[in-house]
Symmetry: C2
DNA sequence: CTGCATCCCAAGCGATACTG
DNA sequence: CAGTATCGCTTGGGATGCAG
């Protein structure tokens, strides 16, 4: 089933619309991270949501998951080459959001 | 309360994260529209959600709402000057989403 | 015509417990 | 260490009815 969306903007929103997904991406842009690292770096995320979001991002091809079959197990998450195409998009979104937050702050302070 | 978000990307997602918001913006970019016009142009939207999303977008300063005190009442929605700053952002998002949809189609067809 | 109010369902998310 | 399973709360959204 092709299921062409009317507006591709919704596609993007769906891809990084999860509560913690932007934060996860943000961390992986900086450097590869293990599951436990992400858990510590994103204080309020639950294991369930971290796991679920990582699985979502993996399925979309945004992040790669490398398993080292050691004991104890080690799993490393990284931004895929394709995932890196999201960076400029995220930067544009970030710039607008930052400005919007400032705007809202100013008007509530007036 | 200032409530600074950690990642401004979330701010943007919150602004146009509603199910029909991208579609509404899309329509208002093209030209000003009345409530009833939007209802017809976006076939599956419910009155409740259309109203609620328009109110959200208005509160964020994205759309302007002009009331003509006629009988029957006429209300026109338009993209505000500030709202127009969203257009380039939406275009970037749209381009990525379009490519992502193609990618997903190809891999499911392989 | 342009809404708001109400009720209801589905999805998203959080907390806790358990596993290889 | 890196998860999965289950439950329950909270939010988003659809359907219907009512109002200025």
């Amino acid at each position: 089933m092709i299921h062409q969306r009317e507006c591709p903007v919704e596609t993007l929103i769906h891809v990084l619309g999860g509560k913690w997904k932007p934060m996860i991406l943000w961390q992986l842009i900086e450097s590869n991270k293990r599951f436990n690292d992400l858990e510590k770096l994103i204080p309020d995320v639950s294991q369930k949501m971290l796991s679920q979001h990582l699985r979502d991002l993996e399925r979309e091809g945004i992040v790669d998951r490398t398993i080292y079959p050691t004991i104890p197990p080690k799993v490393e998450y990284s931004l895929s080459e394709y995932g890196k195409t999201l960076i400029p998009v995220a930067e544009v979104m970030c710039a607008w959001g930052e400005n919007h937050n400032k705007r809202k702050y100013k008007e509530s302070a007036s």
